[in-house]
Symmetry: C2
Subunit: 258 residues, 2 copies
């Protein structure tokens, strides 16, 4: 029997969130699991890292599973850096992040702590996948995701994720019987139309809550938004080379060096 | 005479940093300037947004310039969202972010608050540029950058930045006479080899400082790292569609829907 793979698990909702507990449960069926996850929710942290304050990390025991767990005071990206450099004895075979409580499809990938952890692992050369369920509730039901999380993770281990690519997997909020399958997609062109909820403190000072309305501007049937709206699980290969190669020739027509 | 362009200025080092003061000075030569910037340093914030706490914004008067300025309690991305939705009467013609004290070349774009502000503006459909100087010091000398900031901003206004693209401009830390010119580049393949500096609190608890060594893995002469090392200003067109389109066919060979 071949050696069991070493799997690093992290998230951005915090180490006690139901989403990461579901992910750990599935990963224990596949390999040896080490969890390094934030000690508190970090949603919307994007690719933040902690450079102006210190990081704490602590061995914790949350359930009776065989995984080894550490809670960390930092961001999701910090967790991956600390895991790789200070905790794990070797480079893990796979890093999985999530399962996020809420969508990280289309433009949400940019703001996502879940995906920043996966991207950080990818930058370090570790095959990595972020998983998210389209249900923001703390008590979201992750049952239907488990079968598919396992299929995707096993494919990643068996077939290998292309170099410099990380997977962004989103699950529609459906029962298992209603999920139509898995689709490889591109990121839909979409954005948030922000709406700020302006209020006043008891002392009369204005403040704002950020809220917004998600707007999908993309009619393509090859997008993650289309897949999710039509009952499929979306898998988008994501890269951290942000160069818009197609724009280079246009910019070379600018008058920059007179 | 045509109407003066409306320019939104922000950064991640905080509204009083010398880098943003230099940027404001140049932008006042080109257009009407509104500044919405963080009230404190936000380096390494990536594309963080504030969703679990409230945002304050305040009119401030920092120098005698003609710009209108607001300081904001949020992240760079929050500043752009608030500016566009709550402060500016119309969509700005250009958003500039920086000038950052320190490099945002190659993989640093991922961690950069400066670039997250520019990307946020780009997502909103506003032409946007992030500027950074390869000098982390608070008292960095921005004199040599001013001429080139103006050239690049004027080209952006006159020629237009390609749709869904944002510019990441980095300046070598050189005197103006030693700068060889401006090069359009791709993002170099590079990463940080983290080194955690482990210490103990006076109470005996372990903690870590994140430090690291930058490693350029890319020998290409068309990269931003090459340009900067060879005395050029680098301009990388950056996109927020993170899809690794080239990986889709490979992933379609996976066994996902048996």
């Amino acid at each position: 029997m071949s050696k069991r793979p070493l799997i690093l698990v992290t998230n951005d909702d915090g180490i006690t969130a139901p989403g990461i507990r579901a992910l750990i449960e599935v990963m224990l069926e596949i390999g040896d699991v080490v969890v390094v996850a934030p000690d508190s929710p970090q949603s919307g942290m994007g690719h933040a890292i902690t450079i102006n304050s210190v990081l704490y990390i602590e061995r914790v025991y949350i359930d009776n599973g065989k995984q080894i767990e550490y809670s960390c005071s930092g961001t999701p990206a910090d967790c991956v850096k600390l895991a790789v450099k200070e905790i794990l004895k070797r480079k893990p075979d796979l890093c999985v992040s999530g399962i996020n409580h809420g969508s990280n499809s289309s433009i949400n990938v940019i703001y996502s702590g879940t995906m920043s952890a996966a991207l950080e692992a990818g930058i370090e050369g570790i095959p990595a996948i972020g998983f998210s369920l389209l249900d923001y509730n703390y008590n979201a039901n992750f049952e239907a995701t488990k079968k598919y999380v396992k299929i995707i993770a096993k494919n990643a281990l068996d077939k290998g994720i292309p170099n410099n690519v990380v997977l962004n997997v989103n699950f529609p909020n459906l029962l298992e019987k209603d999920i139509k399958g898995i689709k490889i997609c591109r990121q839909a062109k979409a954005n948030w139309e922000e709406e700020f909820d302006k209020r006043q403190t008891p002392q009369g000072k204005d403040y704002y809550w950020l809220t917004g309305k998600f707007v999908n501007l993309d009619n393509g049937e090859d997008t993650d938004e289309w897949a999710l709206e039509n009952g499929y699980i979306s898998v988008v290969p994501v890269q951290f080379d942000l160069t818009a190669h197609h724009a280079i020739s246009n910019l070379n027509t600018w008058n920059l060096n007179d």
